[in-house]
Symmetry: C2
Subunit: 302 residues, 2 copies
Amino acid sequence: MPAPHDAGAPGGASGRGGAPAASTDPGTEFAETFAVVDPGAPALSVGELSTQRGDGIFESIGVVDGHAQEVEAHLERLAHSAQLCDLPAPNLAQWREAVAAAASQCPAGECVIKLILSRGIEHGPTPTAWVTATEAADFTRARAGIRVVTLDRGFDSGAPARAPWLLLGAKTLSYAVNMAAIREAHRRGADDAIFLSSDGVVLEGPTSSVIVRRGDRFTTPAPGAGILHGTTQLSVFAHLEHLGFETAYETIPATALATADAAWLVSSVRLAAPILSIDGHPLAVDAAFSAALNEYLLSPRD
Amino acid sequence: MPAPHDAGAPGGASGRGGAPAASTDPGTEFAETFAVVDPGAPALSVGELSTQRGDGIFESIGVVDGHAQEVEAHLERLAHSAQLCDLPAPNLAQWREAVAAAASQCPAGECVIKLILSRGIEHGPTPTAWVTATEAADFTRARAGIRVVTLDRGFDSGAPARAPWLLLGAKTLSYAVNMAAIREAHRRGADDAIFLSSDGVVLEGPTSSVIVRRGDRFTTPAPGAGILHGTTQLSVFAHLEHLGFETAYETIPATALATADAAWLVSSVRLAAPILSIDGHPLAVDAAFSAALNEYLLSPRD
């Protein structure tokens, strides 16, 4: 990915979970609930559990021309992740305010706002929370098509239900495996990956949801099967239903991918990336349909 | 765990992986290779991939009366983790120097030195590396005995070999599941957990290795089976062999735990914790034997 530039102050805004830090800049509109920090300057101590153990949760929100997309859906998922990880319920009003502050500083075009809720300093009293805003990378090429490989996620499709401590439905900061899967995809000459359960069921991409088309029917794996419920997938399904298409959550066997009429990886910032090939097997791409999907995803959504 | 106190400056010493930062304190002995930072002060930027994605690796080294234990074994494992995670090979001479600097500031008694190698700032040129030293918690009670529950780790015993992108032999910063497993153990009224593969094979504790005794024979799961090779387990085995006991790496079925003559969770800082019960089933504890084991582990080892 090209290096995004910083979107300018406040690129970072941080506060303590339920007990907001006093602002370092009492002149800002949001002075009551959080401090604005220089995103390039040191802001976190080495005692942070986010950095010591990936112990926390996050969300990435797309911003288009200053409008933060689907903020409520992301906040709902943040609250759900917090519950799965035994973190205190996020102060949603405070998060909303921090997202608005970050979005108001985003330049025209596409940006990404990241929400991070860490368990805090080791043995400390409260979680640590912060928001960052950066210009998004240029995803023009990915929105035209990506090559994908399937990778075993290691667990069978029964694991999420029987072992909730695996946190499989939570968007935690422990993303080392997700990043390793993308590196493995690159090693295999592909752009991205689709995780499969060890018993051959389609799960999700390392940072995206999978949508499969067969005729006028679009399916995606059911949330609860060890995957995140994608906010962009939700938005795409609502749009497709509005257009008169059928949508469904269902178990998708890995063997069904090669015979799909089309498939996409969808996510909040890269948006809809049509799949050109899966494990080297080519898939049809309807360029106009994907372009229209991305046009919708780039329009203001709430 | 009781809150450890900071071991005093330099509690944190940080430098860039292969290209050490210039020291901020040219008066220290280690001025050439890294900077000494206040562990309570902000030191890391919000762009750190360790904090955004748990993307990095670590080691925890026990320190007894200023002596850092088994430094070379920990550095070897750090280098192994780096390789598995496609991180640059650690500059071991620099790490050795940072560990020595941290150890020299540790008060008498037990401390822990943490080595963290992060992939660095997002889109940045180099990894970020730092070392922290803190007083260890008081593990007297755990060294007398712990109650343990078994928890499904989700993957079968074939997963580590067929899916290296799961990073199962690397000590990554993505420890959210390990922490969740310990919380689940507490919920079940236990002190700690033993992970089992989904096909019922003993793996490891969330932050420790498992050693099982049957007569005069001590066994532990083979490294490579999706577990870390424990530095303390290695040290214990060398000690037991010196005492004339038999040791072996082998597949341990979960069903063998309840019929063991004794079992321990061993780790670098808590050392040998004899298991009082597994899933509520009591296990014999030879208090004198465990005490002698911990006496050995507290003696200077290299």
